[in-house]
Chain length 156, copies 2
DNA sequence: CCCTAAAATTTCAAGCTTAAAATATTTCGA
DNA sequence: TCGAAATATTTTAAGCTTGAAATTTTAGGG
């Protein structure tokens, strides 16, 4: 017997749309909570955390353009965020020898300390928010997301 | 024999963090593409599409506060977006009989036509962006997302 | 009826984001 | 060496977003 719910092209499209909305809801819910925690508990924001996280991963610093392409945001965007971090002594700009156009952004010692503190909390928040996922769930979810990400990489 | 990669609490936390970053990357990639399509092909934005989508689902209209809680955004936010849609003749505000504080936002006929056009394209874009997911993948992914969403609903 | 608290919405200030224009510098072919 | 094209960054204008303050209206106890 033919299964009555055999997915036609039409219903697969609708099913993908529904899972997309669910994906969006999951991510927005977590992101909202992370933003709230950063703001209320640490007086900072997610974009600032993202920039600090990128700079922490590259101790020698990143050129402004490398930073913006790494984070997939516009150049003008990181300019403003690095400006603020610099004003607060968490980051600094270093001239690139041999190219007076470019500057490398780096964390200061104070910035590294502040980031380590944030990063530990961030991992804890995520661990709690994803408590519903067992190790097996994590692996399976990861594999499914790879199906989506594989397609995104082709398109660049 | 014990598997050598038995996940301790420590590594489960790291695995959850990695899958979170992957989730974020998947969603941001898709969302960026949708925003680009809306802007370049239809001269509109995702927040406007979201508002129109909500209003389309409620033909009798939604109070401003119902709209903002439905979309999980601030009151002030929807005020500005409905203002713009109203200026363009896509939405309108209707007084609520018996409560002069409240107003109901609705789509105009023009707004409904514009939304139907957008919605069809939107479904097509998503269907293409999620081409890597088979019907089975969609169901499995959906189930895993439910593990995340279940937890979010408890917390309200 | 009065008047305080609650409710619905808008206004506001601050920050994020983008695309495009503007600046400054480097590269490299003629 | 000159100058056009490419590169690195900042500036700018416009829109989104939020939380908090302000405004208007309603509801309910005294």
């Amino acid at each position: 017997m033919k299964p009555s719910q055999a997915p036609t092209g039409e219903t697969l499209s609708k099913a993908r749309l529904r899972v997309w909305l669910k994906l969006l809801k999951s991510v927005n819910g977590i992101e909202t909570e992370i933003r709230r925690n950063l703001r209320e508990e640490h007086g900072t924001t997610l974009p600032r955390f993202d920039v600090m996280s990128a700079l922490a991963r590259f101790p020698d610093g990143l050129k402004m353009s490398e930073l913006s392409s790494y984070l997939k945001v516009s150049n003008g965007n990181v300019t403003g965020i690095v400006d603020k971090l610099t004003e607060e002594g968490l980051a600094l700009r270093v001239a690139v020898p041999g190219d007076r156009r470019a500057q490398v952004a780096r964390l200061t010692a104070k910035g590294r300390v502040a980031f380590e503190e944030l990063a530990q909390h961030h991992e804890d928040w995520i661990n709690t928010l994803l408590e519903g996922l067992s190790a097996g769930n994590v692996d399976a979810l990861s594999a499914h997301l790879d199906c989506i990400l594989d397609r995104q990489m082709e398109e660049d």
